[in-house]
């Protein structure tokens, strides 16, 4: 079976479900709005200006993982949609690859629109405080942030395939992003830097101060995502549908 028609089918699945499209709209709105708000009142004058300008990304991640989890769990929520999908595409690895590719493509496009908008909003809020930022830093933050959001959506997609449940996936990931990383981040220092959501966000810093650099941080998130996708694919291929 060729990949392209299966990819088109998965893209059509996303396009034809309104709640899924709504999470993408939330991704844009939340990331841009919180970047603007946080930059108006940066607090600590020594804070990294690029990270402050793009700080809405931390919340945008929640929308990204929600999208990734729901796009997969729609197959397992009502009755047995996955069974019908697999009668059309019996090669399970191909099916999941096409689904992951469609999720990645959609999130990347939305994030590549969102991140520049967030940056513009953030820079406007920061004013003079952002003067030291080079164009290279800004481009890296925007593109890297978009890749990071895409990786987070795929991380959730892999986990949702492993757990076959959107609710279970989100009850692990949302507390992880909102609570564990924020609260425990300072307590556990270097270890927390390697959490999937925190590692990738290093790419949003003009001057990373931890063990990870911007691209190595993104690579760490990439490893988490690859592990989640492989785990999901393993259960899909191994178990009865």
């Amino acid at each position: 079976m060729p990949f392209t028609p299966v990819f088109r089918s998965e893209w059509l699945k996303i396009r034809t479900v309104r709640p899924l499209l709504a999470t993408l709209f939330v991704l844009f709105t939340v990331t841009t709005a919180f970047s603007a708000l946080a930059s108006l009142d940066p607090g600590d004058p020594g804070a990294d200006p690029l990270f402050t300008a793009l700080s809405g990304t931390a919340l945008g991640q929640v929308a990204a993982v929600t999208f990734g989890a729901l796009a997969v769990s729609a197959e397992y929520r009502e009755g047995a949609a996955a069974r019908l999908s697999l009668t059309a595409v019996p090669r399970r690895g191909l099916w999941f690859a096409a689904k992951a590719a469609a999720i990645a493509a959609v999130v990347l496009v939305v994030a590549l629109v969102t991140m520049p908008a967030a940056l513009v909003a953030g820079l406007a809020g920061l004013g003079d405080a952002a003067d030291g930022l080079t164009t290279a830093d800004q481009v890296r933050g925007v593109v890297g942030g978009a890749v990071h959001l895409t990786l987070m959506a795929l991380f959730a997609a892999g986990l949702a395939m492993l757990l076959r449940s959107g609710t279970a996936t989100l009850s692990v990931l949302i507390p992880l992003i909102l609570i564990v990383s924020f609260v425990a981040g300072d307590a556990f220092g270097a270890v927390a830097d390697f959490m999937p959501d925190r590692a990738g966000q290093t790419v949003l810093r003009a001057e990373p101060d931890g063990t990870l650099g911007p691209w190595t941080g993104l690579a760490v998130s990439g490893c988490w995502t690859a592990a989640a996708l492989l785990a999901g694919a393993w259960r899909l291929r191994r178990q009865d549908a």
Binding site: P5, L86, T87, A88, P90
Partner: protein, 306 residues
């Protein structure tokens, strides 16, 4: 055309054996009724044929090939498994377009099957607004999408109104007459008798019968005829003279056991007995099926060991 081949098929879920060493073939050109009590293994067998579940032993395939090896499966097999397979927030038409896209089936064909299943007026409504019968029709539309050689429907009459049940009988007959392989499961004998040419009966995962419908009836059903007359004495005498045993019921009708409609009709005509009603008693067909599966149904009702 392709047949469904099941060879020495066994499927265990933990300690429970859902399908037990099953062997049968469903050939093209006729409607095969797949009959058995709830939990007999019909749906499991269908999932195994579709490669959704992995067999514990044996094999299930189409024309000798496993489902997963088909290049364009929807053009070979159309299946209705589960009425809940369509997402409530998608429209019926989009549900079919998503499936069609995997095989590059054009939207024109999607509209055709919507028309054929009577869903065209509801095509752009969300599936969550559909009645159970409409969801069933949508599932059948999905099965027909690829114009498949093999059609496999799990309890298709569930939730259909009487008009829908007549529609599905006509559809099944047409599909078989076009030379397709048609397998339709049901747990009701009288329903299956109305459309099937051939029977495959399961009980507790085992094959109980694989026989033409006609032979099943001839071999297992003791025929009986229900008669009403305006001249009871003449009827009683005529039946007695020809050695038929007849029982008179309080409401005035008679049951002649061991006889066929053809025999009694000719006999009454020859003897000049006026008849008001003459029908074959269908109750005995259901009874034959119940007798066949009773032991196995009883057994599945026992608590399973962990």
């Amino acid at each position: 055309m392709t047949s469904i081949d099941v060879r020495d098929l066994t499927k265990e879920y933990g300690a429970r054996r859902a399908v037990d060493d099953l062997t049968f073939t469903v050939p093209p050109g006729r409607v095969t009724g797949f009959l058995g009590p709830n939990g007999a293994g019909k749906s499991t067998t269908m999932r195994l044929v579709l490669g959704l579940d992995r067999p514990t032993a044996g094999s299930a395939g189409l024309g000798g090939r496993p489902y997963a090896s088909l290049r364009e499966p929807l053009r070979i097999v159309g299946a209705l498994l589960d009425t809940g397979a369509a997402l409530g927030s998608r429209t019926g038409r989009d549900h079919l377009r998503v499936l069609a896209a995997t095989h590059r089936i054009p939207d024109r064909r999607v509209d055709e099957v919507l028309e054929e299943t009577g869903l065209a007026p509801a095509a752009r409504r969300r599936v969550r607004t559909y009645s159970l019968g409409m969801r069933q029709r949508l599932g059948i539309a999905a099965a027909l999408l690829g114009d498949p050689e093999v059609v496999m429907l799990d309890e298709p009459s569930n939730g259909l109104d009487p008009e829908g049940i007549v529609w599905i009988r006509v559809l099944l007959r047409r599909l078989a007459d076009e030379g397709r392989t048609v397998l339709v499961s049901s747990h009701l004998m009288h329903e299956t008798a109305a459309f099937a040419d051939h029977l495959v009966v399961l009980g507790r995962g085992r094959l109980l019968a694989d026989t033409p419908m006609r032979e099943f009836i001839d071999a297992r059903v003791r025929p009986a005829v229900r008669v009403r007359t305006s001249d009871p004495d003449a009827l009683e005498n005529a039946l007695a003279r020809h050695g038929h045993r007849a029982v008179r019921h309080p409401d005035g009708h008679w049951t002649v056991s061991g006889a066929r409609v053809d025999d009694i009709g000719r006999l009454a005509s020859a003897e000049g007995v006026p008849l008001l009603e003459l029908t074959a008693d269908e109750g005995t067909l259901e009874q034959a099926y119940l007798d066949l599966t009773a032991a196995d149904t009883e057994f599945t009702a026992q608590p399973q060991e962990a």
